[in-house]
């Protein structure tokens, strides 16, 4: 039952992701991306990571994608405009980014397997790993505090970039 559900949600996420990059209409793309976030959230629920699932929907589907839609609608982006401005180097960059991502995630996954971070069901039960808000909060603000703070600095940099781009004159 659990495996079947996981496969269904995973397939939904994959199919929606594919549709999101292949659709010509920007609004349709955005909506398929929302669908993909639901697929991911469903996967998290099956893995009993309820907190992550809720936050996935809350942050990505509920806030960020609404902002995307807002921008798409405000700029009135249409497929014709996008076709004209398509950069010739885009496919090369895309492939490079995909290879880099696969390399990094593959190395991380292999390391995790070596470190025994995928225990079987019996070992998991003794570890008391759960997806509760408390467990996630403790690991986020305890073990992984540095990574958390570095990520927030990254986001701060993005905010500065946006402010500088929108300001015409810097006085």
């Amino acid at each position: 039952m659990t495996t079947a559900l996981f496969v269904i949600f995973g397939a939904t996420a994959l199919a929606s992701a594919l549709l999101a990059v292949t659709r010509k209409n920007p609004v349709a793309s955005a909506m398929w991306l929302v669908m993909m976030f639901f697929g991911l959230a469903g996967g998290y629920v099956v893995l009993e990571a309820y907190f992550v699932a809720a936050v996935q929907v809350l942050v990505y589907a509920g806030a960020i994608m609404v902002l995307f839609l807002f921008v798409i609608m405000l700029l009135d982006l249409r497929s014709e405009h996008l076709m004209e401005e398509e950069a010739p180097r885009m496919p090369i960059l895309g492939v490079a980014a995909a290879v880099l991502f696969l390399a990094v995630s593959g190395i991380a996954l292999l390391n995790a397997v070596d470190d025994g971070m995928f225990p079987d069901a019996a070992a998991r039960a003794t570890l008391e790993l759960d997806g509760s808000a408390r467990a996630i909060g403790e690991s986020l603000f305890g073990t992984w505090l540095l990574a958390f703070e570095v990520t927030s600095v990254l986001l701060l940099g993005a905010i500065f970039g946006a402010v500088i781009l929108t300001k015409r004159r810097l006085t």
């Binding site: 809350l58 509920g62 806030a63 609404v66 839609l69 807002f70 609608m73």
Partner: protein
């Protein structure tokens, strides 16, 4: 006295229902039984229908109450006091031609009304509408068992994430209609929702911090022990209420459908049942918003011990509180005029966001100090600082926006007519 009443009236009802609850409960080891599944399905059907019927009745109430406030009669012909008016409306909606204009994006145009209704409805799954007090034998402690469709440990997060999805219906409806007024309504809806969702979420954070649980049953249990959250967190309750008004697009924040500016905003191009679905979505969202406000800040189904009379009393208390806030929605709509769009944005980003952030920080600090008296003094400090801030703002605005008649070069209206009369 109260217990005698309980034994007389509600006690008689309580026994068979308690037996039913037993039949519909999980097995002793927590596994699902046939009766439990059937019970849950019945409960889902019941709650769904109550919400839908309430939405229909709200349309009637809105028209009657607005008429009452304006000294009119309102719809009073169909049924007693016009109570069957929703049925007449329904018949009209059903038999009207369902026009799909030729210039719309058909798929999005069709699913947009559905996206408005569904998130609002499924939010109700985690809201506890009644409960029971049980005494554990050894220590004699009472503990609260809340009744809802799904008892989620992350109930608060579930609600915040699902209610935020309703905006897709409005935004997509506005975009798919391919008309400038609809598009403007949709764009306004998305911007407004994002702005107020921040304040809405941050207003809930102090509640979660104080209760230290994301479970709505725990929130109610805490309030049953320590008093309503609105007394501990008046600022959060106030901002939450206003953010709910903004999230449901009710006046004074109905920018997405502002009739005087955008014809009817995002649903200009809709007709028949699709149009009715947008309305059902709005009224369902109002019901859910009221239920949330009641659950998080006003003790849910508890009322100073009255709920101990039995589960039926809990339902009554909860319904009464929700109905009061539904009335308040109508009350406010016909009292306060619409905000200007820039005022709406300023209120969300410039006032509510900083206030909620400060509230979260202060509450967290007070909790960290772990002193009982700080928790009591915090609401007073917050209220005092807001009043002072409001007074300063008032004084500043008084200087900036002096009445027209005081401005140099403007002749007061009365004086002008007086001169004309004498001349």
């Amino acid at each position: 006295m109260i217990h005698a009443l309980a034994n007389l009236g509600l006690g008689m009802l309580h026994q068979p229902i308690a037996f039913l609850f037993g039949f519909f409960d999980r097995a002793g080891d927590g596994s699902a039984t046939f009766g439990w599944v059937i019970g849950k399905i019945l409960l889902v059907l019941l709650v769904t229908h109550v919400i839908l019927i309430l939405a229909a009745l709200m349309v009637w109430a809105e028209r009657r109450v607005s008429a009452w406030m304006q000294g009119r009669l309102g719809p009073n012909r169909v049924g007693p006091e016009g109570l069957l008016q929703p049925l007449a409306d329904l018949g009209k909606f059903m038999f009207k031609e369902d026009v799909i204009p030729g210039h719309v994006h058909k798929v999005m145009y069709t699913i947009a009304p559905l996206i408005t209704v569904i998130p609002a409805m499924i939010t109700f799954a985690v809201i506890p509408f009644t409960g029971s007090f049980e005494t554990s034998g050894a220590t004699g402690d009472t503990f609260i068992q809340s009744w809802q469709i799904a008892d989620l440990n992350i109930g608060v997060l579930y609600i915040l994430s699902v209610t935020g999805l309703g905006v897709y219906g409005l935004t997509l409806g506005g975009w798919a209609s391919n008309s400038k007024y609809s598009l403007l309504g949709g764009v306004r809806a998305s911007a407004q929702m994002i702005s107020y969702e921040l304040s809405l979420g941050l207003a809930v954070v102090p509640v979660v911090l104080i209760v230290s649980s994301l479970n709505l049953g725990d929130v109610i249990a805490w309030q049953a022990d320590n008093g309503w959250m609105a007394f501990h967190q008046p600022l959060a309750a106030f901002i939450f209420m206003i953010a709910v008004y903004a999230e449901t697009n009710r006046l004074p924040f109905d920018m997405p459908e502002a009739e005087t500016e955008l014809v009817a905003g995002y649903h200009t191009e809709y007709s028949s049942m699709k149009f009715a679905l947008f309305f059902m979505g709005e009224y369902t969202a109002m019901t859910v918003g009221s239920a949330l406000l009641v659950t998080l800040f006003l003790g849910g189904w508890t009322f100073f011990g009255l709920e101990q009379l039995g589960w039926a009393m809990g339902v009554l208390i909860f319904s009464a509180k929700v109905l009061f806030f539904l009335f308040a929605f109508i009350w406010v709509r016909w009292t306060i005029p619409r905000f200007r769009y820039d005022q709406l944005m300023w209120l969300g980003w410039g006032i509510f966001l900083p206030l909620t952030l400060v509230n979260v920080l202060l509450t967290a600090g007070a909790l960290a100090m772990d002193q009982a008296w700080i928790m009591w003094i915090l609401p007073l400090v917050l209220i005092a600082s807001i009043l002072i801030a409001a007074w300063i703002g008032w004084k500043r605005d008084e200087k900036k926006f002096q009445p027209l008649s005081d401005a140099p070069g403007v002749i007061p209206a009365g004086a002008a007519t007086g001169e004309e009369a004498s001349a």
